[in-house]
Symmetry: C2
Subunit: 362 residues, 2 copies
Amino acid sequence: MTANTVVGVPAETAGGERRVALVPKVVERLRAKNISVVVEPGAGSAALIPDDAYVHSGATLGDPWSADVVVKVAVPTDAEVARLRTGAVFIGFLAPLTQPERATALRAAGVTAFAMESIPRISRAQSMDALSSQANVAGYRAALLAAEHLTRFFPMLTTAAGTVPPAKVLVLGVGVAGLQALATARRLGAHTTGYDVRPEVADQVRSVGAQWLDLGIEATGSGGYARALTDDERAEQQRQLAKAITGFDAVITTAQVPGRTAPTLVTAEAVTGMRAGSVVVDLAGESGGNCELTTPGAVVVEHAVTIASPLNLPATMPEHASELYARNVAALLELLVDKDGALSLDFTDEVVAGACVTGQEV
Amino acid sequence: MTANTVVGVPAETAGGERRVALVPKVVERLRAKNISVVVEPGAGSAALIPDDAYVHSGATLGDPWSADVVVKVAVPTDAEVARLRTGAVFIGFLAPLTQPERATALRAAGVTAFAMESIPRISRAQSMDALSSQANVAGYRAALLAAEHLTRFFPMLTTAAGTVPPAKVLVLGVGVAGLQALATARRLGAHTTGYDVRPEVADQVRSVGAQWLDLGIEATGSGGYARALTDDERAEQQRQLAKAITGFDAVITTAQVPGRTAPTLVTAEAVTGMRAGSVVVDLAGESGGNCELTTPGAVVVEHAVTIASPLNLPATMPEHASELYARNVAALLELLVDKDGALSLDFTDEVVAGACVTGQEV
C-alpha cells in the first residue's frame, strides 16, 4: 500500500524557536496510518533531534513545502506562506486573534489552514489541545526558572550548621501553566500558594498541594477564562496582592486574556514591598506582562528583586515540547484522512470546521 | 559592655563571586556574643543583600580591612593580603593544597590565617564544615542545571495527548554534592541512580530514593575520599560506565580528589553513546573535569549531547550559600573568642590548630 498523503515538516525560522512540528516517534505513528512524512534536513537540530532519527522512523529528508499538508509550530512568515502550493493544507499556530491577517494571506494563497489555537475545547479534541500541552511545558519551566533565579533554596535544608526554611512560592493565575508551576515548585520542596479570580479552580490548586489565596474578588468568564475586572475591582486586587506578596520568595504570574493586553497584577509598589533577593517570573510578557516592572524577554533586577519575563518558554525544552505538540498535530491529522490515509476533509465535523481559519472550501 | 573583637567583611572581588562571608542574620548572632561587625558598603549587593539589612542587624558600614579579624569567601588576592594589618586574623577559603603560596604570603604579612578547607573533619567541627555546606548548594544547583539544559521533562507527565516517561538521572561520585543532586533530581520526579567507588555510600544513595550502580570496582581511601584507581581499574571503569551511561538522560559528575586533577569518568566515546538531547553536568571542571569533552566554565554541545561545566556553582545561589558559609565562619569565630568576645586563640584546640595555615604564633 503506498502512502496517500504526504506531510512536510519545515525547519522553524523564528528567533529562539527550537521546537519542530513532528518528532520521530510521531512519524512512526503516522507511517502506520499510511501517511508519508518529508522532513527538511536539520529541522530537528535545534531540538537536538538528528536527521538520522527521522530517517530511522520512516521519514524521508527533502523539500517539505511541496507536500500535501505542511505542519509547523510558529506562525508562518510571508515568505513561508509564499512557498505553500495552491490546494495545500497547513496546520500550525496561527494567532487568529492577534494576527488575523495570517489567515487572510493563507486563504489568498489557496491554502486550507487549520489553527491549533482554534480547535474547539471539547473533550473529543483534548488530544489536539496544543495550547494546554505547551502551557504544561511553560509552567514547568517557569518553576525551574524561579528556582534558578532565586538566591535561596526551594527545599528546606537541614545541615550541621543549621536549617534553612523552604521557599514560599505564589502563583497568580491558575490555568494549565499555573497548575504545573505549582506542582513543580511543590515537588522541589517549596511551600506553594495559588491565586485566581475563578473560585472554581481552588480545588485544583489544593489537589497539587498548594494553599488557596482568597482575596474575595470573583470574575469567572466563559470558555474557562476569567472575565475582565472592572477598574475598581482591579485596583482593589492590586492593593490586596501588594500586601499578600510581601511574604513570598517567588511569584509566578500567568494571567493572560486571549487577544488582549495582560492585566497588571503586580504593581511597581508591590515589588518594592518584596524581600530583597525575591523573584518574579512573568509568563505574560508576550502580551505586556503581569508585573509593572517587567521587561518582556529580559531578566532585570529592580529594588533587589529579580524579574524574569521569558518569551516562548516551551521552546526552551524543545524535545518534549515538540513531542507533545506533534501528538496534538497527529491527532488532528488523523481526523483529516480516511482509513487509507488519503486526505478527506469533513467540514461537518465541528473540530475540523472549528479549527479551519480559511473557510471551508478545499 | 563594649565589643571586644571587630570582624571585617570585605566585598568579594573575584569574577562571578556573588557570595559574601557574613549575612545579616549571622551578624546578629555575633553581636549577641559581643563581637562587632564592619561591612564594606555593597559587600552584599551581588547576593541581593542590601547595606540597610546589615545596618538593621547591628553591623556598621566602613573599612573592613582594619578589623581584628577579616572574613572572606574567595582566596584573597595579593592586593587583598597587602591590605591586612600585621597581627590581624584572616578566615576564609585558602586553597591550601593547590595554592600553598597564599599561606606563605599571609604568614609573611604577619597575619594568622585560618583556612576553611583545613578545619578537621571531626564531629565537633561539623558546624564549621564549609566544604560540605557549599557542596550541598552545588549539588542542588547541579540538578537544577541538568533540568534546565535537558530538552525533556524530569517528571513523568500525563496529558490528554499521552504520557512522557520520567527522566533517568545518573550521579557519578556520591559525596555531599552528589547526594544532594540525587535528592533534588528525585524531588523533581526523575528516576535516579548513584555510582561511587566507595561501596559504603550505597546505603546513603538508597536513602535518597536512588538506585545503586555497582560496577565491581572498589577504592575506599582515607578521610572519606576515594583512593586513586590504578590505570587498569580506571580503564575498566570507563569501559563499564560507557555502557551504563547510554540509558540515562542526564549524568551529573562530582568526582574530585583534593589537590589532584579530576579523574576521567565519561570518555568522549561514552558521550557518543548517549541518546541525542541528553545532558552531562560536570562539577569537576575546576580541576579539569570528569568528562573528556568538558570545557570548564562553558556549555558545549557535542554529538547532540549538552555538556555543562559550571565553575563556582554555590555563587549562583548567593544568599543561602552565603548564609550557610557565614554560619560555618561564625562557629569557628566563636571558638576563637572568650566569653567576653575578646580574641583568644587556643592552639591546643585541635580545630584551631588544624585550621591555622600560618603557624601558631599570633
